[in-house]
């Protein structure tokens, strides 16, 4: 039995109210997080659980909020009515597994292309957009004061931060400069009511079943900012998986998203501000991609990393279609 399996077995008895942990299997080889699945055995019955932890137990990525905060965000989200996997246990140093937490296993699909186009999700797609709007309204109801360590960013700071990231890549992309100029000329003032935003709410980070939205995942980029940022990000071209007439993640219309959001108590959506964040979304993803060239040369010289860096131009054509069609 591996060291981790052994530690989880002990955790099952000490913290999770079970008799044993079995069947440990790695789910993803994520660069920023490890995800493991295991079975909690109790009176002969097995319940699947998920362990999410920092790579190797304790390496912490720079941009992430930290797994303990991620767990408390999910707990607050659950209390606010957002579908999330229930957090069972946040790891402590004497659990001997590093940083992370154990949560319920939720059955469903996260692959964006299948959610946008798969036959199995045809019924789900009819309700998914509205459910996303409702989930976002619930997220934006969470009191940001409960999370004093999360980053507070104004729209101008956010745009400037990504512009600096682009400039640091030291490779001219005139379309990016055009888009940054466009954004700076239209930058909304700091929001009157900054809200807790998920920060990465998109097709790819939601768990969907045949019946619709089952869980909102990957809370590590959460921060406190303009709530419309989340509304724009899910509409960015990069998450439409080829379904162009469905701007919301390749499965819905903006108006459906906004209607679900407003009906669930979210503030009235200003289409111009939503467009600002949609353009920013494409550019933000572009800056993330162009940073991959540097990662390739330093941290991860894999072919896959090199090829992802070459996907930056996808966002350049997306931006041109938004701004110069």
């Amino acid at each position: 039995m591996s060291e981790l399996a052994q530690a989880l077995d002990t955790l099952a008895r000490r913290r999770l109210g079970g008799d044993a942990a079995t069947g440990l299997a790695r789910m993803t080889a994520g660069a920023t997080q490890e995800i493991w699945r295991f079975m909690l055995v109790k009176d002969g019955a097995e319940t699947p659980l998920i362990l999410r932890r920092a790579p190797g137990g304790d390496r912490v990525s720079e941009s992430a909020t930290g797994l303990e905060i991620e767990a408390s965000l999910m707990e607050a989200a659950e209390a606010a009515g957002v579908p999330v996997p229930h957090v069972k246990w946040v790891l402590t140093p004497d659990d001997g597994i590093g940083h992370g937490f154990v949560m319920a296993f939720v059955e469903g699909e996260t692959l964006g292309g299948r959610i946008a186009r798969g036959e199995a999700f045809a019924e789900a797609r009819k309700v998914l957009t509205r459910q996303c709007g409702e989930a976002l309204a619930a997220i934006h109801r969470i009191d940001p004061a409960a999370f004093p360590t999360l980053k507070r960013v104004t729209p101008l700071e956010f745009v400037t931060q990504y512009r600096d990231g682009y400039l640091a890549s030291n490779w001219p992309r005139p379309v990016f400069d055009l888009a940054f100029r466009w954004l700076l000329d239209r930058c909304p003032p700091p929001p009157e009511n900054p809200r807790l935003v998920h920060g990465d709410f998109r097709n790819g980070n939601i768990m969907v079943g045949p019946d619709g939205l089952r869980a909102v995942l990957d809370w590590e980029l959460a921060h406190v900012a303009d709530p419309m940022e989340d509304m724009g990000w899910i509409c960015a071209n990069s998450w439409r998986f080829g379904v162009e007439d469905k701007p919301v993640g390749g499965f819905g219309l903006r108006e459906e998203l906004w209607a679900g959001y407003e009906a669930a108590g979210g503030e009235k959506v200003d289409p111009e501000r939503a467009l600002f964040w949609e353009v920013f979304g494409s550019l933000r993803w572009g800056v993330m991609c162009c940073g991959m060239a540097n990662s390739f040369r330093t941290a991860d010289p894999s072919v896959e990393r090199a090829v992802i860096a070459r996907r930056t131009s996808e966002t350049e054509i997306d931006l041109l279609r938004l701004l110069a069609a």
């Binding site: 005139p174 379309v175 400069d177 055009l178 162009e244 072919v303 090829v307 930056t312 054509i317 701004l323």
Partner: protein, 135 residues
């Protein structure tokens, strides 16, 4: 003069070998990464085939946009692109400036034809530009 087959032809052969033989005889992550590697080789083959002509046209277009009349002046592609980027970022040039939109479209389409010729946004852009809506 270097010999034939050309780099483009040899890269194409290696990519085919990876896809047709090695993918089938490997599994899991290795098989996936072989496919990624073959795609990367095909990307480089497209770049070898098309970049020289596309970049010569880009250089001429950049000089025209930036008002550089003497052919030997202005610097290389990187320098001129950095200057165009700076002027766009500063708002000294924008989409209303004659030639800017055409230049950005031409260079971006050329980039996509190498990097991601199957990207749906690129296919859509090509279709839109082939049949522009009436204004």
């Amino acid at each position: 003069m270097q010999d034939q087959p050309t780099p483009s032809e040899i890269l194409g052969a290696v990519a085919r070998f990876l896809k047709e033989v090695v993918v089938a005889e490997t599994k899991g992550a290795t098989s996936f990464n072989v496919r990624v590697a073959a795609n990367a080789l095909e990307m480089m083959r497209r770049q070898l085939d098309t970049a020289p002509a596309a970049e010569a046209a880009e250089l001429a277009s950049l000089k025209a946009l930036l008002g550089i009349e003497n052919e030997d002046e202005g610097g290389d592609l990187a320098t001129l692109n950095a200057e165009l980027a700076r002027r766009l970022g500063a708002g000294e040039l924008d989409l209303k400036t004659p030639g800017v939109a055409d230049h950005l479209w031409a260079t971006t389409l050329a980039k996509l034809s190498v990097d991601q010729p199957t990207y749906w946004g690129y296919r859509a852009a090509l279709a839109e530009r082939a049949a522009p809506t009436e204004t």
